[in-house]
């Protein structure tokens, strides 16, 4: 059992406030990812949980116990650092056993736990090497092994994959997901990479400028982002944003007129907007399709063919550039005039303050 509660957590350096009143619940065995652009405070928040940064205000509660003033070693957490932070003068075996040695665990038991972690991480052949003689991926595994050996209540990961190359990163992602499954542990993971967040998290916490923008499952954030920031941050290629005005609303949604005169109707709640209000239309690349009868018209600027997917960059007449994602290989050529259709169930509307109007059609996997 390991749960974590943050209650009005704050961090400030003098008058500069970097974490502002954060409330969060992390359930037992949950894989939670903090994601956000650099400088959003996600690493600071993780370090505050770890005990490496002082908490300026609020309560940090682990398993029902307030931990603000408990030292990092006594919180029962383990952390994997971005730089791995292995002890360069110790062998892999000594690195992994260091915490147990400090805790005066008898040698035989220490060896057993190190061997067990080495087995899980397939590090057995390297136990007597020093970190300097290992590759980046292997060092990363040693850093994880060092955390496993401690059998912590919660694993903390601070951008652990960002020093690895793309192929290795994909592999380690799968390995970490497997590890989470196998160890049945609560994990908190910090990254700026939304792909890591989407693929591994049970729950994503999107942070910006020290504030939580949204908390939810990956699919909730993807299909029902709370605001423009989350909508733009989650998803690749990025969501298309088009400026428009509300021209009509009723119980089934509203219609938006774009500068070109095109009209798009979307099923969203209309309680907080009125006719004539400026809004932003959010359309994921896969919510657009080539459709000779479609309401949007434009010229193809560029086509990216990925084989299984085709990304068509279109400059809409007067409405701005968009990206259209089509399954399979498509023959559309640059400079061609096209018309685009919209899937209303996948479209979002954001009001003047950037807040999303709740969708009337919820994605079936986001309940």
């Amino acid at each position: 059992m390991a749960t974590l509660t943050l209650r009005e957590i704050q961090k400030s350096y003098g008058s500069l406030s970097v974490i502002k009143n954060i409330d969060l619940e992390v359930a037992d065995r949950e894989f939670v990812v903090f994601v956000g652009p650099s400088g959003c405070g996600k690493s600071t928040l993780l370090r505050m949980i770890a005990g490496l940064e002082e908490i300026s205000g609020g309560d940090l509660i682990i398993d029902g116990q307030r931990m603000n003033d408990i030292g990092p070693a006594d919180r029962g957490l383990a952390m994997v650092f971005q730089s791995y932070a292995l002890y360069p003068h110790m062998t892999v075996r000594q690195n992994m056993g260091f915490a147990l040695r400090l805790a005066r665990v008898p040698k035989a038991e220490r060896e057993k736990k190190v061997a067990e972690a080495a087995r899980i991480l397939q590090l057995e052949p390297y136990l007597d090497r020093k970190p300097g003689q290992m590759s980046g991926g292997q060092r990363q595994r040693v850093a994880i092994g060092r955390a496993i050996v401690r059998n912590p209540k919660i694993f903390l990961f601070d951008e652990p994959l960002s020093n690895l190359d793309a192929a290795l990163r994909g592999q380690m992602r799968i390995e970490l997901a497997r590890l989470h499954e196998e160890l049945n542990a609560t994990m908190i993971y910090v990254t700026h990479d939304q792909v890591e967040a989407m693929t591994m998290a049970d729950k994503i916490v999107v942070l910006q400028a020290g504030v939580i923008e949204q908390v939810g499952t990956p699919l909730q954030l993807y299909h029902h982002p709370a605001n423009l920031f989350v909508a733009g941050f989650i998803g690749s290629p990025r969501m298309n944003f088009l400026k428009g005005r509300v021209t009509g609303l009723d119980g089934t949604g509203l219609s938006v007129d774009l500068p070109s005169g095109a009209r798009v109707a979307l099923p969203v709640e209309t309680a907080t907007v009125g006719t004539g209000d400026a809004v932003t239309l959010g359309l994921r690349p896969e919510a657009l399709r080539l459709d000779p009868q479609g309401p949007l018209g434009g010229t193809v600027r560029l086509v990216e063919r990925l084989g299984g997917l085709t990304l068509i960059h279109v400059d809409l007449d007067r409405d701005g550039p968009v990206i259209v994602q089509i399954e399979g290989s498509d023959g559309t050529a640059p400079h061609q005039s096209v018309r685009l259709g919209v899937d209303p169930a996948a479209g979002q509307v954001f009001d003047g303050t950037g807040k999303a109007l709740p969708h009337l059609v919820r994605h079936p996997l986001t309940h």
Partner: protein, 273 residues
């Protein structure tokens, strides 16, 4: 960057020139110690002469070299250990847990080295007299330790700064308290730097003369006092003085020669990493 042959040649000549210039006094001192008193003061100076050991015999008969040498070793090692014992925790705190006053503290420590020691001679002398520390090895160890503390703190501080904080934080997460961090992680990883700091401190202590001359007379007198005792009121006996100086600096010269690799490695620690 590739320099031309002439430039390399010039640098080589310059390097040798400076080295010879710096080594010459030591060379002359050693040479003089093997001369007779007459030959030592002959003009023009003699480069070729019949070497003799009579000055060394005379020196040993007048004073017990080994007792002075023992004092030198004791106070140098003692002063260095004392300085390191205080400087390691101090430099650790300033390097890894700096406060707004850390910079000021460092500069203030350095500023104490700008004061001429003779300015505090009288108060220190009186304190030592009152505490019964005059002519004791403990007294000299205290003075030497304090005298080298600023430079030892500064050197350790720069070496510690090179150490990635992540590694210490990982240690903290693994359960290391401050002492554990220092003992298991910081010291092993900055050992070249700590060693060269210690070596430098040893050399400075060994060569120190001002405090040893003023605060010791016989029981705790190190080799610097031993040398000084040969410049007597009856006049300077250059051959004997040179013989005394040679036997006094010989140990530290040999020591410096053996540890030069370590010293250079330590002093360029950050640059080559």
């Amino acid at each position: 960057m590739r320099s031309s042959l002439t430039a390399q040649l010039l640098i080589a000549v310059l390097g040798w020139g400076i080295a010879l210039l710096m080594f010459f006094p030591i060379f002359w001192m050693v040479l003089t110690s093997f001369k007779t008193e007459g030959a030592a003061i002959a003009t023009p100076p003699q480069l070729i002469f019949a070497p003799t050991l009579e000055s060394y015999a005379e020196v040993q008969s007048r004073a017990d070299y080994l007792s002075f040498a023992f004092n030198s070793i004791a106070v140098s090692v003692g002063g260095t250990v004392l300085a390191l014992a205080f400087a390691i925790p101090g430099a650790y705190a300033m390097a890894f847990h700096p406060s707004t006053r850390t910079r000021g503290t460092l500069l203030w420590m350095l500023s104490t080295k700008m004061l001429p020691p003779v300015g505090v001679l009288v108060p220190i002398y009186l304190l030592f007299r009152g505490a019964g520390l005059l002519d004791t090895r403990i007294g000299l160890i205290l003075i030497y330790g304090l005298m080298n503390l600023p430079i030892v703190v500064w050197m350790l501080f720069t070496f510690f700064k090179e150490m990635p904080n992540d590694i210490l934080e990982a240690g903290r997460m693994d359960g290391a308290k401050a002492w554990g961090e220092v003992w298991y992680l910081l010291l092993p990883l900055t050992l070249p730097g700590v060693a060269s700091t210690g070596l430098l401190s040893l050399i400075l202590c060994w060569n120190e003369a001002f405090w040893s001359l003023n605060l010791t007379s016989s029981a705790a007198a190190p080799l610097t006092t031993f040398i000084a005792s040969f410049s007597s009121p009856e006049g300077l006996f250059f051959a004997k003085l040179s013989a005394a100086s040679t036997v006094a600096v010989a140990p530290i010269l040999v020591f410096g020669w053996l540890s030069q690799r370590q010293l250079v490695r330590g002093l360029t620690f950050g640059a080559v990493k």
